[in-house]
């Protein structure tokens, strides 16, 4: 197991992502951050608070559970459904930033796009991920990345966040081959 990002690295990456999102969207007034449970939801909350500090105004954020939209439901044991909370402003005509911890095959994001389509019609949808580990199976790309981690498919990337795991850390497990 090797540590890819330490707690200060994660803090710096999230701060940079926050600035990049604000820069690209000319401020935070049109933004809605939606984190994908479990860890994406915590990351969305953190990014929203960093952005609120920078901008001095509240940034809308929520969570978007994609379990019911997965394309592999027939193959896996049923997963617990996590809460979906959409800010009261809704997503219509807003710039939605999807937030997830690890971007891998891209299938989670495809499901998230389907879920968004049921809720409303955002002006744009952008994607922020703490880690991009490659191996995409769909034509999906992140707009904001904390760190690109080249991995082999047999390895796994483990993200720990202080809210649920007691500490912040990203590590790679398994041997590269």
């Amino acid at each position: 197991m090797s540590v890819a990002l330490s707690a200060p690295d994660i803090k710096r990456a999230l701060t940079r992502i926050s600035h990049e999102i604000l820069e690209k969207n000319q401020g935070g007034s049109s933004l809605v951050l939606l984190g994908i449970p479990t860890r994406g939801a915590h990351l969305a909350h953190r990014i929203a608070s960093i952005m609120s500090e920078i901008e001095g105004t509240e940034i809308a954020y929520g969570t978007l559970d994609i379990t019911l939209f997965r394309d592999d439901l027939r193959l896996r044991a049923p997963k617990a459904i996590m809460p979906t909370t959409i800010p009261s402003s809704g997503i219509h005509d807003r710039d939605v930033i999807l937030v997830d911890d690890v971007l891998f095959s891209g299938r989670t994001i495809r499901s998230a796009l389907d879920a968004l389509g049921e809720i409303g019609r955002p002006r744009t949808v952008q994607l922020a991920a703490l880690v991009d580990r490659g191996h995409r199976e769909l034509p999906i790309k992140a707009d904001f990345v904390g760190k690109n981690l080249p991995t082999s498919k047999s390895q796994s990337v483990r993200v720990l966040l202080s809210e649920i795991d007691g500490k912040d850390e990203v590590s790679i497990e398994g041997e590269a081959n």
Partner: protein
């Protein structure tokens, strides 16, 4: 989990996970998302060999909100009324590629028979078999109780429930006794001795013949329908006497605890086991039971029909 035949097949943890799933599904379909693609391309057959309004409609609504295709099949107007056996009906459904069959039948054990047979490979969901069980009703009752009185806990520890009336013919009562006691509730059955089944003393319940002595201390009063269509003998002298001793009217309701609720699985005999004022009162959660039924049945379909494609040979 492949079939839902009886509450006794469910562990406490499985029951709680169905309730939690239903909770999230209710929030999803209350809010922004009305239709979910979760069961797209799956076929669910409602096989109703006995009359039903709310259970059939509820399963149909649940399946449709999850984007499954629904085929409704009732005994009246089908080959069942020409004398087709359950086996031939099941084999027809298998040939049509049903992923799940929701079955209501007047014979106790019909759902079990269907699940144990090799007639079909899909999931079997018991929607009421004779006087045996009605597990989805018990789950929606538990869901409703938890929502009103659960105080944020996952189970029903510390609550007391009275189940009142025709226990003998009631599959709802059987399933509820099993489920609510599994979840930690204390149950009192209140009925005339003639309407209690043989062997009731081995159930995890206490028994009373006096509604007035029970009604003041319970958190939930669950009224049962007097099932006149199943009554072949005289179980009580007349309807007025039954109503006086075992019916819930507004006078009796006054002695209930603050916050206690009145439930009824429907269809109600207004004026017999429950008076119209009680059924329409603020304590009554009867229409809410119907609403919750859809979420709970969505959860049941979700749990039974997702995953497991590999185990069952990828059908």
């Amino acid at each position: 989990m492949r079939h839902l035949l009886s509450i006794s097949d469910l562990s406490k943890a499985e029951a709680i996970s169905i309730l939690e799933t239903a909770n999230e599904l209710a929030r999803v379909s209350d809010g922004a998302i009305k239709k979910l693609p979760t069961l797209r391309g799956r076929t669910i057959v409602n096989l109703f060999a006995e009359d039903s309004t709310r259970t059939r409609i509820s399963f149909e609504a649940a399946a449709k909100r999850l984007s499954a295709d629904v085929i409704n099949f009732s005994a009246k107007g089908s080959s069942v009324s020409k004398g087709e056996s359950l086996k031939d009906t099941a084999m027809t459904l298998q040939a049509m590629g049903a992923d799940a069959v929701v079955i209501r039948h007047s014979a106790s054990g019909a759902a079990q028979r269907l699940a144990d047979s090799q007639w079909m490979s899909g999931s079997v969901i018991n929607a009421g078999d004779g006087t045996h069980e009605h597990p989805s009703q018990a789950l929606l009752d538990a869901f409703t109780i938890r929502k009103h009185l659960g105080l944020g806990k996952s189970d029903l520890e510390g609550l007391s429930v009275a189940i009142v009336g025709d226990v003998l013919h009631s599959r709802v009562a059987r399933s509820n006794v099993l489920l609510l006691s599994k979840l930690g509730a204390k149950i009192t059955l209140v009925a005339p001795p003639t309407l209690l089944p043989v062997g009731v003393e081995s159930w995890p319940v206490s028994i009373s013949y006096d509604l007035d002595s029970v009604i003041s201390f319970v958190d939930v009063v669950m009224m049962l329908r007097v099932q006149q269509e199943r009554m072949t003998e005289m179980y009580f002298p007349n309807a007025r006497e039954y109503s006086r001793y075992f019916g819930l009217n507004s006078d009796r309701m006054k002695s209930m605890k603050t916050g206690a609720i009145v439930m009824h699985p429907g269809p109600m005999n207004r004026g017999l086991e429950i008076s119209a004022e009680v059924a329409d009162s603020a304590r009554s959660v009867i229409t809410e039971q119907v609403t919750n039924g859809v979420s709970v049945r969505m959860a049941i379909l979700y749990v039974l029909l997702t995953g497991g494609a590999l185990e069952t040979g990828g059908n």
